[in-house]
Symmetry: C2
């Protein structure tokens, strides 16, 4: 019997509450699908930082490398200056573990409210493959004459053939594995970012030659946001850089029903990956048992697929859909579900 070692970072605010429900589902899935696991819980987050001044030590990264996967709740604290925890924990994990893919399914489940008109689950079902270790996220840049009227601030997007190619290759493979429309759209800005997206575009069409069964398409990032809202059914898989991916996946989260349901994976296909609900720590709802755990549960489902338990992973998604189909969960928004966080978790667990 397989025994998985899962690192768990419950994190801040409502993170621990949603992680608890995710682990409930993990337990149910393990029993049903016959695998063992142990969880190693890490204290990192805003509270820990406030107490100790530590964000994430290098020693933790070394430990993470021995895990099968990481499961993250939420990182973010109202008293900590924006940037410190994001850079010190979230981005540090992505970069140190070389999680070069950010995978974000944008799928509207039944009975989930979307802010866009005339679109249902059959229309909103695509996946964004976001490059997760390069571009504007590398932190390169600097100031000249800082604080003077002559200040210059430079931020650099650094893109490598290696980084771009492995991401694009993953996207093609994923499009085939997904086996739906078999269409991959490169989202970029070739007409303005003539260095970065020249590399992206060249690499995209070169790699495309190896995947003749995949239909390729290109859309500027500005147009992409328009079509996501107007014609989401046009998309199957979208591949894009780190910054554009950040933007369009949040827009995607909104059209699939919001932070209550949106999950993502930070994936190193050859290493250790991390899965998370993409919402924040929601300080306002902390400890009230009203936060929606579905995103965290879907993240757990993605984690299961990643460690090789694809049947269990599918079962988690099916359980989420069945729970939604009961109509018992009135809204995807925190405080409006009509059920507590735990009741939603229990309902989903009952369908595993």
């Amino acid at each position: 019997m397989k025994n998985y070692r899962i690192g768990v970072i419950p994190g801040d605010g409502t993170g621990p509450e949603v992680v608890r429900e995710g682990l409930k589902i993990l337990e149910a899935a393990a029993r049903k699908y016959g695998f063992k696991y142990e969880t190693i819980v890490y204290p990192f987050g805003g509270e820990h930082y406030k107490k100790t001044g530590e964000t994430l030590p290098d020693s933790a990264i070394e430990e993470f490398k021995k895990l099968d996967a990481l499961y993250l709740g939420a990182i973010g604290h109202p008293d900590v200056k924006p940037g410190i925890l994001e850079q010190g924990i979230l981005l540090k994990i992505r970069f140190s573990l070389d999680q070069y893919i950010n995978l974000r399914p944008v799928k509207l489940y039944p009975n989930v409210w979307t802010p866009i008109k005339d679109k249902g689950p059959e229309d909103i079902d695509f996946v964004v493959v976001r490059e997760n270790t390069e571009g504007l996220y590398v932190g390169a840049g600097g100031f000249l004459r800082k604080g003077t009227p002559f200040e210059v601030a430079i931020q650099e997007s650094i893109n490598t053939r290696k980084g771009v190619e492995r991401c694009i290759r993953f996207a093609f493979e994923y499009t085939i594995k997904r086996n739906k429309k078999k269409k991959l759209t490169l989202c970029g800005k070739t007409n303005v970012l003539t260095y970065a997206f020249d590399l992206w575009e060249r690499t995209f069409y070169e790699v495309a030659r190896e995947y003749p069964e995949v239909q390729t398409d290109y859309a500027h990032v500005d147009a992409t946001t328009m079509w996501m809202v107007k014609n989401p059914e046009w998309f199957d898989v979208i591949v894009t850089d780190n910054m554009f991916g950040d933007i369009i996946t949040d827009l995607g989260a909104m059209i699939q029903g919001g932070m209550g349901v949106a999950a993502g994976g930070n994936i190193n296909p050859e290493g250790v990956s991390m899965f998370e609900p993409i919402g924040g720590s929601a300080p306002k709802y902390t400890g009230q048992n009203v936060i929606n755990p579905i995103a965290a549960i879907c993240a757990l489902g993605m984690l299961l697929d990643n460690i090789g338990e694809s049947e269990a992973s599918q079962a988690v998604e099916n359980a989420v859909i069945k729970a939604l189909e009961t109509g018992k969960i009135k809204s995807m928004s925190a405080g409006k579900m009509g059920l507590t966080t735990q009741e939603v978790g229990d309902l989903i667990a009952s369908f595993i």
Copy 2:
């Protein structure tokens, strides 16, 4: 009597058709509000480039500097490699004339279909002030080991205190002049773009001290796209950098009804500004008399305000609203209006 010199670049595709309607409105407004104008028509665009190899000569820029304003139809040609015309004409004008503001009202007019649910004209009414001469648009960057497996492509966002400050200052002044919610939101990514948006954020809060009557707010760009779709009524004026502005204004165009109605201005408050419908050249609809001229007419309205004819400008907007209120224009989409391009122009002109 004032006599304005307006440079007109009808451009490609449907550009000439929509510009013709805009000029019809200009004529009506001039008669009604008692000003004179002359138009100087320029041939630049994809067709001209294909014939002559010329995008936009420096001599034209020198001529433009003597105009009161520029009016642009659309630039873009299916046979010309993307980037050439955008860089060679549109961006060249923006940069050479130092049009450092891109002003984009996002306003849902009556009887206009928006793809988002439960929102009406009272909810969708905000303005994006986009920096228009810096950031990732400066074209800085380069390749290392191009074409090899070790290629590096760098794209730089260059931001200056001068450039950021004048844009932010314009946004504060505009928020006051607009006189609605008196709220200005900085849209950025301070937690990741720690150089570029550090400058933006510092400048924003420094300048804010001079405008205590304006309520300030901050939103990450990814979150901004979410709220634009879910709670557009939260916004009054948004100020942001060139790249983020490009993205959120296209999303804004979609929620205000699409390319048929979205207009923008490239503004140099101390110099010559250019106004344009933000849609493309729409080759598919060219010459069919089915393209929506409303965006071009609204751009003309913005132009009138810019040259100092604010009463006439208001009259153009009112005429657009009255025309829409008749219910005679069935859709904002090309080919579905139920009226021809010229009929829509005539209808609006009849309300001037």
